[in-house]
């Protein structure tokens, strides 16, 4: 049977104490619990093991578990802090924390820099940026001539690469982002500010219990508190 039994307290491999996670992040305890609901649904979607693997991540982002995308790969790698090839619940909460509206711009800039520094050299090189631009165009089924792409890169590097060495270091990046704050738009998820009131989610579970199927419909915590409906068969 799967990892998620009918009991409230679960001993799943990825599960960490919400109180500890709340103390380490901008989330409250109830927000961490709400994130756990989201984590559960993503982490059981392909293999029910309490961990998010690459396919499950792709399924959650693109509704297509086979969809390969270099940006999703980078995000996945950054979430997978322990480099295990899977994301556990602690990883999930700590990484999503960076996207919280209340977290500092500094933290967001750092995360974005690591995101775009694909090979982890400590610099965002021109060829990396070109690779990412091409990937984006491909994803959007747009085609641009090479000269046009080069022109975009020229303009970007003229603006960002202050010492004109063909790569962007962390201080140049921070300077660039301060002048172009919309570049950090992707680093904030407004949903996270009031995750328990922003969306009531319900998750259909099927669990096998003594030969019966129980369909559980859970109303994710909203302002009125957790509502849970169980229906036996």
């Amino acid at each position: 049977m799967g990892c998620f039994q009918s009991k409230v307290t679960r001993q799943c491999p990825g599960h960490e104490d919400p109180i500890i996670l709340a103390s380490q992040t901008a989330f409250s305890v109830s927000e961490v619990e709400a994130l756990f609901e989201l984590f559960k649904s993503i982490s059981s979607s392909v293999i029910d093991d309490g961990l998010i693997n690459k396919e499950e991540f792709q399924l959650a982002l693109f509704q297509n578990r086979k969809k390969e995308n270099i940006f999703a790969n980078r995000i996945f790698d950054l979430f997978d802090a322990k480099k295990k090839g899977v994301i556990d619940f602690g990883d999930f909460v700590r990484a999503l924390n960076v996207f919280h509206p209340n977290v500092s711009q500094e933290d967001k800039m750092n995360f974005a820099f690591r995101l775009y520094d694909m090979d982890g050299t400590g610099f965002i090189e021109r060829n990396e940026v070109k690779q990412m631009v091409i990937a984006l165009l491909c994803e959007s089924e747009m085609k641009l001539a090479d000269e046009t792409i080069e022109a975009i890169l020229d303009k970007t590097f003229l603006d960002a690469d202050i010492n004109q060495d063909g790569k962007i270091d962390i201080s140049e990046w921070k300077n660039f982002v301060s002048r172009n704050p919309s570049l950090l738009k992707i680093m904030t998820l407004p949903y996270l500010r009031d995750i328990t009131t922003t969306f009531p989610s319900f998750v259909f579970h099927s669990e096998v219990d003594e030969g019966k199927i129980l369909l559980r419909l859970k109303l994710l915590k909203n302002a009125k508190g957790m509502a849970q409906l169980n229906m036996g068969s």
């Binding site: 631009v133 998750v203 259909f204 229906m231 068969s233």
Partner: protein
């Protein structure tokens, strides 16, 4: 005791209905069996095409890159079209029918103020809280792919997709379905 009338109740009032033309929103096409075949072939992503007004030629490279779907983690929270293939769990004997599943979804949805309509194995759940433009509605359909393999498809229908993506709202719903084993009797 005086109570405020809800919008859902207003919509039912005779005086309101006089001369009222409900707005019609673009609805997604009903599912067809291409989705079933897609399970056997590699599943092709169904794009939600967003209207881009500008040509990106003068754009900064990072602005361009930011548009990637892979960088939009808001997608983790949205209700989107979800197709999941479902495999029979080993060694388990299950005898729930598709009709029973439909019945259970209906029972569950009612206290949450969803109205449920179904025809054969297609269902639609209508959010009765009409507080915003276009109700959030959810369509589900159960397909049999093979005798031991079924798929339940759940997707949003009606309502403003772009608005869901940009504005968190308390009628936004995330639905996921786990390993539901369904058989037809």
């Amino acid at each position: 005791m005086l109570q405020h009338i809800t919008i859902a109740e207003i919509l039912k009032e005779e005086w309101f209905k006089k001369g009222y033309k409900p707005p019609v929103f673009e609805e997604k096409d009903d599912t067809n069996l291409d989705d079933v075949e897609a399970i056997f072939k590699d599943y092709e992503e169904h794009h939600v095409t967003e209207q881009r007004e500008e040509q990106p030629t003068a754009m900064n490279a990072f602005e361009l890159i930011s548009m990637s779907k892979g960088l939009n983690l808001g997608n983790l929270f949205d209700a989107e079209e979800v197709c999941m293939d479902l495999r029979e769990k080993q060694g388990l004997h299950l005898n729930v029918t598709a009709n029973e599943i439909i019945h259970k979804i209906k029972e569950a949805a009612k206290p949450l103020e969803f109205d449920v309509h179904n025809k054969n194995y297609k269902m639609r759940l209508y959010n009765l809280k009409a507080e915003r433009k276009g109700n959030l509605n959810v369509a589900t359909e159960i397909f049999q792919v093979a005798p031991s393999l079924h798929m339940v498809e759940i997707r949003k229908a009606k309502g403003d997709t772009l608005e869901f993506n940009t504005v968190p709202h308390d009628s936004l719903i995330t639905i996921s379905l786990h390993f539901l084993n369904v058989s037809y009797c």
